[in-house]
Structures are given as C-alpha cells and as structure tokens.
Point group: D3
Chain length 61, copies 6
C-alpha cells in the first residue's frame, strides 16, 4: 500500500517502463509519506483496438 | 471522465469491438449528460482459463 | 460476463444511474451477442478531490 | 456478485489456476454467505516487466 | 503480489470481512505457492443502487 | 490515456492528494512522453477494515 496501476497503450520501450516505475514510486512516496518499500506499481498495456475516446477507437483513427 | 471498462471473454471480432465502443459511448452520454469527447472506453479480454463462475473455469466446462 | 465498470464523478441522480445501467446493458448485449442476463454493470462514483486531469484536480479548478 | 480479481505474475500452471478459482470461490462463499453460483473469479496475469515494488521491477532484480 | 480485490454489496459485518480476508489469503497461498506475507486483499463495497445485472439494479428489484 | 489509479488508505490531507496528482502526472509524462493533458489520475481511498496483508486487516493490527 499504496497500489498504483498505470493503464496505457502498448509500445513503450523497456527503458521507459523501468523509468516509469521508478519515478512514479518516488512521486507517490514524496507526496503521501509512504515508504518506497510499501509502494506497488502495475503497468497494464492496451492495444489500440481496445481503447476508444469519444466513441472512436485508436485503431480506427 | 466517465471511464468505462468492459471485461469479457476474448473472441469477439474487430467489428463487434468497434460497435461496442460506439454504442456504449452513446449510452453513457445520453444517460449521464457527459459529452462524448469526455468518455473513455477500455476493452479488456480474458481467456477462458482465467474466468471462473461458481468455482468452475470456462475452460473446464 | 461481460463485466462493465463505469467510473464517474458523483452527482448523478438515481434516475440517471438507473437509465445508465439499462442502456449500457442493451448496448453491450446488442454489440457482443451476450445475453442481458450475463451482463453485470458496476457504477463507481468519485469525488472531485479524487480525480485529476493534466495534473489538476476537478476540485481545484 | 461478489466479483473477485486476482492479479499475479504469470507462470502458474493450469492446474494451479483451476485450484485457485475453486478454493477462492469456496472461501468467499463460506465467509460472506454468497451462493457459489453468484461468485465470479477473474485471474489477471502480469509479466515481470510490468510489476514494480519499492521502485524496482521484478524483471530488473 | 498476488493482489486480490473482492467487490461485493455492502452490508457484511466486520467479522465476516475479517474472515473473508483470512480465508481468501489462505486459499491463494495454498494454490499459488505465494507466501502469505506477499498476498494483499482489498475489499470494495458497493451500494445496491450501483450494481445492475441483466439491466436492473439491485435497488430496483 | 494514460490512466493512473492510486489505491491507498484514507487519511491523507487535501494538500497531500493535490500534490500526489501533480507529481504523479509529471512522472508519467516525463517517462512515457504522453502530454500532461492526456494523463488522468484517480485516487481511491480504502478504510483500514477493507485492506489485509498476510491475512490480517490493517484495522486488526
């Protein structure tokens, strides 16, 4: 605790995902006071055919 | 905002998923008053081996 | 199955939420072929102090 | 209802996942009084590159 | 890891929720091999006006 | 997109939650390249009676 989930389109590099986990953990720790050891970050990647905004999927734009 | 997540078994066609996003967005906009531009729809697909009802997985039926 | 979650700001009336559940269920059934009996819709309401877009919370705008 | 989601690292066998669904359903039914027929269990599997604890991903340890 | 979320209607007693956490943790540990110390269980309670099955909310039945 | 959810125990101040949204948004933007305008952050707060680790709820410790 805290538990952080980041849902985003697939396509980021492994380096970007490593940095994402590190920087988000720091941001959560600094602002909530939770120790880093207690912070869990999960990345969930979506394909463009599974995300729609304003009724139109990213794969259909 | 609103953010809509639809979890379902994999196997729907691309046309079905496109229609799902369009129709759900319309339904949410009409009933909540939110503009379509603010409505986000995410589809999450599961395999039959990852869903169980009444203690039995879909893949074991 | 399918399982639909709608996250939105609190403040909708009970009639709006009733209509939301009915219309979203119809939209999902028509486009995926799932029978209505198998469609579950959950509404999750957020306060403006718990939602931020572009780094600014709705309660701070 | 109830709806149970289990997020865990990928790598469990099919037998482990079958047992997980069965045993979790029993545990929820016994303690909440919900009939088994109403209990839905979803398994979501993550790769080690998508889970970080204390700012470090499982794939980087 | 694993992370378990149980969404259910509000109204269970504190004793039922305590037992739910204990028994689900045991079920997940026994079947996945994860140590209990690594298992996190979150309960999310819904009102009857926020859950619909087959297009009808629990509060409207 | 991206959509970030932070689940944590209730009890943080409004200032902590404001800073959390701002800093997490910056961390996600810097590491993924997504513009801030596209980043959505949701905070979900739990009571101690609804979170258990190692089979024991926070309210029972």
């Amino acid at each position: 605790m805290p538990y952080v989930t980041v849902k985003m389109l697939e396509g980021r590099t492994d380096d970007q995902k490593r940095a994402l986990v590190t920087k988000v953990t720091e941001a959560v720790s600094e602002t909530t006071g939770a120790p880093k050891e207690a912070i869990h970050v999960m990345i969930e990647e979506m394909s463009k055919s599974n995300l729609g905004i304003a009724g139109v999927r990213k794969s259909d734009q």
